[in-house]
């Protein structure tokens, strides 16, 4: 179906978007039979008329903007998009069902939502649902997995999984993105990929804390495996498949995010352990962190869905200042033994 060359647009000006665009440009220059045309819109917040017009000629849109920018961007572009197009997003966040300003006003989403994190509202709306609600595009997918911008830039081995209910979305994304260094896998579990990807920020934040406390490699392994199991419970309750959390989009990305390279949430966790308040740590970091809002939202969803989320709960108490690190850790370690 995607045997012919496709036109691709990357929307986003961050490092991850630039790395994806550069990866695609490299493929296009070496294999023009796969990519007919590449359009990189680095400032999608203010689309020019030309840019909007050219979007209608695109077969595959790759969306890699901060989550807060998604809705305004889609509204600008919607009239130029159509049902023949497919869209994949590389946004590690769930969106708000309604206007973000309402959520922010209630203080529930006080942290800006960036490219990695942010579950809002009990009726959490995923980015793919937002695309469906705002544009005529029906065939949507999500990308997640152990692939850092740095890996893509330096053409080191990396992998992504494309989750979509539609075979042709997976096939188109694979056709455009797959190279010997970037392996592309596919799954129908769109919800799983989106929730797993959004959950990674929580584990990264926790990883930063563990790292600052010098808890060791085993603690990291425990955090990743038990974290994946915990977030899988949340994902399954939201309609995802458990196995997705144990694959590239879950554990795969968690391993990378807790490695200390490039994850803003990991750094945030480290700063918190230096005694900085959440606000001060975020200011010091100067980068978008979604871990805290993700934790908050995961706990809220867990409560609404009657789920046991010990890591998220302990982290929530820690970052909201209701408990000390020692108590939070002690609680985690003292929690009842369960069959794995």
């Amino acid at each position: 179906m995607t045997a012919g060359p496709v036109s691709v647009a990357v929307l986003g000006g961050g490092r991850w978007a630039k790395a994806l665009a550069s990866h695609l440009r490299h493929t296009a220059s070496h294999e023009p039979t796969r990519i007919l045309r590449l359009l990189h819109i680095a400032t999608p917040s203010a689309l020019s008329l030309d840019e909007r017009m050219s979007l209608s000629q695109i077969d595959l849109l790759v969306l890699a903007v901060p989550a807060v920018s998604v809705r305004p961007l889609l509204r600008q572009a919607a009239l130029h998009l159509h049902g023949a197009q497919v869209l994949v997003h590389a946004i590690g966040s769930l969106a708000t069902p309604e206007d973000e300003s309402t959520a922010t006003a209630t203080g529930e989403a006080a942290h800006s939502v960036g490219t990695r994190g942010g579950l809002h509202g009990v009726r959490a709306l995923s980015i793919s649902e937002l695309v469906r609600n705002e544009t005529p595009i029906r065939r949507v997918g999500a990308l997640a997995g152990p692939a850092l911008a740095l890996d893509l830039e330096e053409r080191r081995p990396a992998a992504l999984v494309c989750g979509s209910r539609f075979d042709d979305v997976c096939a188109t994304a694979r056709h455009a993105l797959h190279t010997p260094t970037l392996r592309m896998y596919t799954t129908h579990d769109l919800t799983g990929v989106e929730v797993a990807r959004a959950s990674v920020a929580i584990i990264a934040l926790c990883g930063g804390i563990a790292d600052a406390l010098n808890l060791g490699v085993a603690a990291r392994a425990i955090l990743i495996t038990r974290g994946a199991a915990e977030l899988a419970r949340l994902g399954v309750a939201l309609g995802a498949q458990e196995k997705t959390f144990y694959g590239l989009a879950g554990i795969g990305e968690m391993v990378v995010a807790t490695d200390g390279r490039g994850s803003a949430d990991f750094e945030l966790g480290r700063l918190l352990m230096q005694g900085l308040s959440l606000a001060a740590a975020q200011q010091t970091l100067g980068r978008v962190c979604d871990g805290p809002s993700m934790v908050h939202e995961a706990v809220r969803l867990g409560h609404a869905l009657h789920l046991r989320l010990p890591i998220c709960s302990a982290l929530h108490q820690l970052i909201s200042g209701t408990t000390s690190t020692e108590t939070a850790l002690a609680k985690l370690l003292a929690s009842d033994n369960h069959a794995e």
Partner: protein, 538 residues
């Protein structure tokens, strides 16, 4: 009343039937052969039929058990042309079995007979004095007019029906739904539709005669093999392509629980999408053939104050094993005595039935404007044809189309929730069921239905609860039917009187001391499920 009875598509059916059967059989054969080798398909079909006919009684079968066995035994000795020939015969046999018929004279008689018959059915007081009503049919018709309300986007649908194919998808409560829909279409000024009816219903000689001659085609739900499904789908697609308005009950069967259907069966409905792709293929020249009119899906809610078969349906639902009982042939609708009782006592209030035609949708579940153009998010027009493009050419892509249909199903389910009209029986049942929840906390459904409980409720408290529920339903945009939108007192009286008028034991009753008491809890559960399924309760 329709003034277009001389022009609707079903009138063409007698002339086109042979061609339709031939085209269906040919296309279904191609579809079947695309799935696998003829010997495997035949083997599978024979084994299915042999098993089915060994376990259940024959009903005008395509082949007898002996014939299927004979064919199965000889499959090994047939060469490919002979196998294809056998397969073609089998496919043709099933197509003939499925294909409906339409007789304009029978339609003429039916349209004359149906309104008074429904009038009798829905006006119990008239039965005691049939003779006078037969002398005064006008009175009967006016009573029917009062009892059965038809509402919704009728003008838009009438306009669309002249240049497009409408596919009505009603909710399904009762075996009365088909005749009620037939009448409602007529009242709405809409053309009659063809529809798939369970083959078991055709065994009733009177019902069978009318259905066979009024465009219904036969769906044998006992047959599970793929070949039969291919024939059914192809038949449905062929008649849609030829512009025959159709009707599917997407719930698949009557709602056993009384809940508004949310998990829809999309197999046959998917033919609206295939026919639409074929329409665009012909428009773009990718396929040859006469033009195909656009297709719109019209969700319809059938809302009844009382349901004829409620007792059997809910009992069946509550039986663990009964949940899989797909065909019920011993319910109230098959018992003359119960039918007469229903006729005599059912609805003692006006507005007993409300048929609401929802806003039409395109085959992807998008709303459409007055002219039928598809509308995307924020009401912007969208080009429907592009959803089916594969490198610029409209094509059927089964996996993609199944996912599209899944979304269409969600749109229809949303429409069902939005357009459900609630009756006093639903409101009272919902209110009283909450008392049961409080009185028997922590018990599962089955215990709540059986645990001895002497509940005696003050009328004042119940009236306040009814008012609160009405306010909640209104604030969520739900529709309240006649009497249900009146005062709490009106709702209570209408519901009590309705419950008392028909069911063996009323769900709620007034005791001698003026209080309210629990009656048949299963019936109560059945009627409260309507509101429960809308997700409006805290």
């Amino acid at each position: 009343m329709s003034n277009r009875t001389t022009e609707f598509p079903l009138l063409r059916f007698p002339r086109e039937r042979a061609t339709i059967v031939q085209e269906t059989a040919q296309r279904a054969l191609q579809a079947v052969l695309a799935r696998g080798a003829p010997e495997y398909i035949l083997n599978d079909t024979c084994l299915h039929e042999i098993r089915r006919l060994s376990e259940s009684a024959a009903q005008e079968e395509v082949k007898s058990l002996g014939q299927w066995k004979h064919l199965w035994r000889h499959l090994g000795g047939l060469d490919r042309p002979a196998l294809i020939d056998q397969l073609a015969k089998v496919v043709h046999g099933f197509t003939e079995d499925v294909a409906g018929g339409f007789s304009p004279p029978v339609y003429g008689i039916a349209t004359q007979l149906l309104p008074p018959a429904l009038g009798l059915l829905l006006t119990p007081e008239s039965v005691t004095d049939i003779a006078s009503h037969l002398v005064q049919p006008a009175k009967l018709l006016s009573l029917l007019h009062e009892r059965l309300q038809v509402e919704g986007a009728l003008l838009q649908l009438q306009r669309l029906s002249r240049r497009a194919t409408l596919v009505c998808v009603p909710t399904h409560l009762s075996n009365l739904d088909s005749p009620v829909m037939g009448y409602a279409l007529q009242r709405a000024g809409l053309p009659p539709t063809t529809y798939g009816a369970g083959k078991n219903l055709f065994t009733n000689p009177v019902l069978g005669f009318f259905m066979r001659n009024l465009g219904a085609y036969r769906v044998d739900r006992r047959i599970k093999h793929d070949l039969y499904k291919d024939v059914l789908k192809t038949y449905s697609q062929v008649i849609l392509e030829r512009g025959y308005h159709s009707m599917f009950f997407p719930g698949g069967t009557r709602s056993r629980s009384g809940r508004v259907e949310q998990h829809l069966k999309l197999g046959l409905l998917g033919t609206t999408l295939s026919a639409t792709v074929e329409r665009y293929r012909r428009i773009t020249g990718a396929a040859a053939g006469p033009p195909i009119p656009p297709i719109y899906i019209v969700p319809v809610t059938i809302n009844m104050q009382l349901v004829l078969e409620a007792e059997t349906l809910i009992a069946d639902y509550l039986k663990e094993t009964g949940k899989s009982r797909f065909i019920i042939d011993d319910d109230e609708s098959t018992q003359i005595k119960r039918m007469v009782q229903f006729i005599r006592t059912t609805v003692t209030h006006a507005g007993a039935v409300v048929i609401r035609f929802g806003a039409p949708l395109d085959v992807l579940g998008n709303p459409v404007d007055e002219e039928g153009h598809s509308l995307g998010p924020h009401g912007h027009p969208v080009d429907l044809s592009r959803y089916f493009w594969v490198r610029g050419v409209p094509q059927i892509v089964p996996q993609r189309d199944a996912e599209y249909m899944h979304d269409t199903g969600l749109s229809i389910a949303r429409s069902f929730r939005r357009d459900t009209v609630l009756m006093p029986t639903h409101i009272l049942a919902s209110v009283i069921w909450r008392y049961l929840d409080v009185a028997l906390p922590g018990l599962d459904l089955y215990r709540r239905l059986r645990q001895p409980l002497d509940l005696s409720l003050e009328e004042g408290a119940v009236l306040a609860d009814i008012e609160a529920l009405q306010a909640r339903l209104r604030s969520r945009g739900h529709l309240l039917g006649p009497h249900a939108r009146g005062s709490a007192r009106e709702v209570l009286d209408a519901a009590l009187s309705a419950f008392a008028s028909y069911h063996s034991e009323p769900a709620v009753l007034r005791t001698a001391d003026g209080k309210l008491a629990l009656g048949d809890r299963q019936i109560l559960f059945y009627y409260q499920n309507r509101i429960d399924s809308l997700g409006v309760l805290p």
